[in-house]
């Protein structure tokens, strides 16, 4: 019974998330520096002002009390207040989710559309020049640093050609669909490069395994064409190993793309994480990392359910 299974899994995430939150809390607090360090060079911020800020955010309490205060704020409140902006953590995060989902979602959809045909093409022509070229391109794609590629694209399309805005979410006073597309193209392309490269490799190897199976030969023997065999018989089975990777990648969308969002001044979760990290904004960091954890756990659950959907032999109960 799938429903009971899902319920059991969801129940299991509660102790898991508690454990994760404890570890994250410890890491965040043990990291060198603290939220008040930004004032280190400035002698005109008085000791009283610092003490008052510490008190307002509970930073003067022992660590375990701070943890329980945070836990309480997560369960019954607004996840605490950002030390940097003074606004509720939940408000700040919700504000950044849309840009992040747009960018991450578009990049992954694009990756899916490109990676599956590339993987199939590579697998059906194993050992050919095309396969070799695609393999080489994949390794290049995986190894290309995001910030470098971003800079090159910006220099080409924004500085040299002047076709696209180099950064930002929308033009001021515009924000039409076309304007937003113009802004999202480069960051989405940069973000999808590595996923296309890695996913197409997984699909290629899954496909290569399946294409050697007897039932594929049988399918051909029954008179199915190449396309029919691949789409109806091979792809479903070949996708099972790739599903895990793809699902987890979708799960990490919620954490935002730290580097890409920073380089392209994209107002998403990843950049919020970067800013919060710089300022050691404890409540903000906790909120963001817990969301990321939820994303990964959810993605794993979805992947497990997807196996069952793709392969009738797999049952959970």
């Amino acid at each position: 019974m799938t429903f009971a299974y899902v319920f059991k899994r969801l129940l299991g995430t509660i102790p898991l998330l508690l454990g994760i939150s404890l570890i994250l809390f410890a890491i965040v607090h043990f990291a060198p520096g603290g939220p008040l360090d930004v004032y280190a060079d400035n002698p005109s911020v008085s000791k009283e002002a610092l003490e008052q800020i510490a008190k307002a955010y509970g930073l003067d309490q022992p660590a375990y009390i701070q943890y329980f205060l945070w836990l309480k704020a997560v369960i019954v409140g607004n996840w605490g207040y950002s030390i940097r902006t003074g606004r509720p953590v939940l408000t700040e995060i919700l504000l950044r989710l849309r840009p992040t989902f747009e960018l991450g979602g578009l990049a992954l959809l694009f990756s899916l559309v490109v990676a599956i045909p590339l993987g199939i093409l590579s697998a059906t022509r194993r050992g050919s020049k095309l396969d070799g070229a695609l393999t080489l391109a994949s390794f290049a794609g995986i190894s290309t640093p995001v910030f470098w590629l971003a800079l090159l694209l910006q220099l080409l399309f924004s500085v040299q050609l002047g076709w696209l805005p180099s950064a930002g979410y929308q033009s001021i006073g515009d924000g039409s669909l076309f304007d937003r597309l113009a802004h999202i193209v480069m960051p989405a392309a940069v973000l999808s490069l590595a996923t296309i490269a890695s996913w197409s490799r997984f699909i290629r190897s899954g496909m290569a395994d399946v294409l050697n199976q007897d039932y594929i030969r049988t399918a051909y023997a029954k008179g199915h064409g190449l396309l029919g065999v691949i789409m109806r018989h091979a792809l479903r089975n070949a996708m099972i190993p790739a599903i895990t990777v793809i699902a987890v990648d979708f799960g990490t969308v919620i954490s935002g793309a730290v580097i890409t969002e920073t380089v392209f001044a994209w107002p998403g979760i990843g950049r919020l994480f970067m800013e919060s990290m710089d300022g050691r904004d404890y409540p903000m960091l906790m909120g963001l990392m817990m969301m990321g954890s939820v994303g990964i756990i959810a993605a794993n659950l979805v992947a497990d359910l997807a196996y069952a959907a793709l392969d009738p032999r797999i049952r959970y109960g």
């Binding site: 990291a31 005109s44 009283e48 800020i53």
Partner: protein, 534 residues
């Protein structure tokens, strides 16, 4: 074609030379209109000047205070009609000399962005709001020294201080004034004022998109007029775009998507100079780098060793490793201030002399080339804040220069809380770091006996006396002579070696005129009303 245009522009805009020329012909064609797009390297946290963790660049175009520091770090009147002094009767010291009373005459006819008149009640409310312990903010300086405020009429504010506070101008009312009619009775921590503040400044906030931009547009009822009678401000709009990555900032300068960046990294200067239509302006800053000693080490309490170290340091190398941009200094009072004393003694770079001084004081070169005397080796732990590339380079240079005179220094760098603890409690022998002050600096916190930032265990009654004179008098001449006195004592007793001061590298479009770099923590944006695009 492109190349020649670029080359021509370069000869035209050779950095600050062009800036000087520009200021020589200020009144050519002040045009009304135009949009200025500013690139900020940080995300604006709040538009509230009292609680922001940053300098308040965008805020300064929107919110005004009673006074503001100008490009020479001197206070000029803004919403007040003059800077209160003893001579003009604005400051009255009580008969017992322990308290003072400051009277501000407010500018008539000033309107808030919503059209309501600005009055003395707003000033009084600002003090009440800032000192309220429920309001969480870091810039509360100067609020608890105020005993009471009287507002005999709409345009007069009398501030009764419970002490003598010569630095009154760099605190409270200079940051900005709150509109009482909008904020009274609201919670300032959560108010929408923090995103769309109503001020009296030349520009009003039209739109604040978190993590993206702030759009400000001309306030048509702004009070200030130009010297030639023009209505101010000239610009239609100033847009502040938040772009955290410096490479992207430079790209946006290149693609002409932004027109002004007030702080660009030193290592990008060559690139920026190549961009057509963009010029690089150097603006002084009120921060400086210093090497300090911990007096708990007997050898460092020996003035001969400190003087020898002063002679052993070659500032030109320190400047070179930092891209050639910092300027050498000999006093913690940076040269922007008019109470900087040019007559302060200095120590020339002279390795032979430094060695001779150590020889004469009885420090003999021993094992490993390190000097020692009476069982104490001149081997020191040397702290900087870890992770600061410029500081790490400077540290290496200083270590090498000390080695040349037989002194060993070993890097012991820390970050975060560990660094702060060590800095304030003296967990080091040598420390290299940086301080930044307001336009009205107080120096006793650094080297006064028991000063809040004095982690060196340094104490000098003569110096304390000079600081006290400087910090407790309101008379400019007396302040200047007290400043000269403490600068001389610091130079002669060498508890600190003042090494270099910094410049801001400002990248701006050549079209922007009347831009004056401001060295203070009140930012470059205090003068936006007069800016125009040619």
């Amino acid at each position: 074609m492109k190349l020649t245009r670029r080359a021509t522009l370069q000869t035209l805009i050779a950095g600050s030379a062009a800036f000087a020329t520009m200021r020589a012909f200020p009144a050519l064609a002040q045009q009304k209109g135009g949009t200025l797009r500013v690139g900020l390297t940080y995300e604006i946290d709040t538009m509230n000047v009292y609680s922001t963790g940053f300098l308040g660049d965008a805020q300064a175009a929107v919110v005004e205070g009673l006074l503001a520091p100008d490009q020479h770090a001197k206070y000029v009147p803004v919403l007040a009609t003059e800077v209160p002094t003893i001579e003009n009767g604005g400051i009255v010291v009580a008969a017992d000399g322990k308290t003072m009373k400051i009277t501000y005459k407010l500018r008539p006819g000033v309107k808030w962005h919503d059209g309501k008149p600005f009055t003395s009640a707003d000033v009084k409310y600002t003090w009440e709001a800032v000192k309220d312990p429920k309001f969480v903010a870091e810039s509360k300086d100067g609020s608890k020294q105020v005993e009471s405020i009287e507002t005999p009429d709409d345009l007069t504010v009398i501030v009764n201080y419970n002490t003598i506070l010569p630095t009154f101008a760099s605190t409270l009312f200079t940051f900005g004034i709150f509109p009482k009619h909008l904020l009274e009775g609201t919670d300032l921590n959560t108010s929408s004022y923090n995103e769309t503040p109503i001020g009296t400044g030349p520009f009003k906030v039209k739109e604040f998109q978190r993590g993206q931009y702030v759009v400000t547009e001309r306030f048509d009822d702004y009070w200030r007029k130009a010297d030639n009678g023009d209505k101010l401000p000239y610009l239609d709009q100033i847009i502040f775009k938040m772009i955290p990555d410096t490479n992207t900032l430079i790209t946006q300068l290149k693609s002409h998507e932004i027109d002004l960046v007030v702080q660009t990294p030193y290592n990008q200067s060559k690139q920026i100079e190549q961009i057509s239509g963009i010029e690089l302006v150097k603006g002084p800053l009120l921060s400086w780098q210093h090497l300090d000693f911990n007096f708990k080490r007997p050898s460092l309490a020996d003035i001969a060793v400190r003087k020898a170290i002063a002679h052993a340091i070659d500032r030109s190398v320190l400047i070179k490793v930092q891209g050639g941009f910092p300027q050498p200094i000999k006093s913690p009072v940076v040269p922007v201030f008019d109470f900087f004393d040019a007559g302060t003694p200095e120590y020339a770079y002279d390795v032979a002399l430094a060695k001779k001084m150590l020889d004469d004081a009885g420090y003999v070169v021993g094992a490993g080339g390190v000097r020692a005397k009476g069982g104490e080796r001149l081997s020191y732990s040397f702290m900087i804040q870890a992770g600061r590339a410029d500081d790490e380079l400077a540290q290496q240079v200083i270590i090498a220069q000390l080695k040349a005179i037989g002194i060993e220094a070993t890097a012991d760098n820390k970050t975060g809380v560990a660094y702060r603890e060590a800095r304030y409690k003296g967990g080091y022998d040598l420390i290299y770091g940086r301080w930044i002050t307001s336009a009205d600096p107080v120096y006793s916190v650094f080297w006064g006996t028991g000063g809040a930032n004095n982690g060196q265990s340094y104490s000098n009654p003569k110096l304390d006396e000079a600081f006290k004179k400087f910090e407790a008098t309101l008379d400019p001449a007396a302040r200047k002579s007290a400043a000269a006195e403490f600068q001389k004592i610091l130079a002669e007793d060498v508890p600190t070696i003042s090494l270099t001061t910094n410049v801001a590298l400002i990248a701006k479009t050549a079209k922007l005129k009347n831009f004056l770099p401001n060295p203070t923590n009140m930012t470059n944006f205090v003068n936006t009303a007069a800016w125009y695009m040619a």
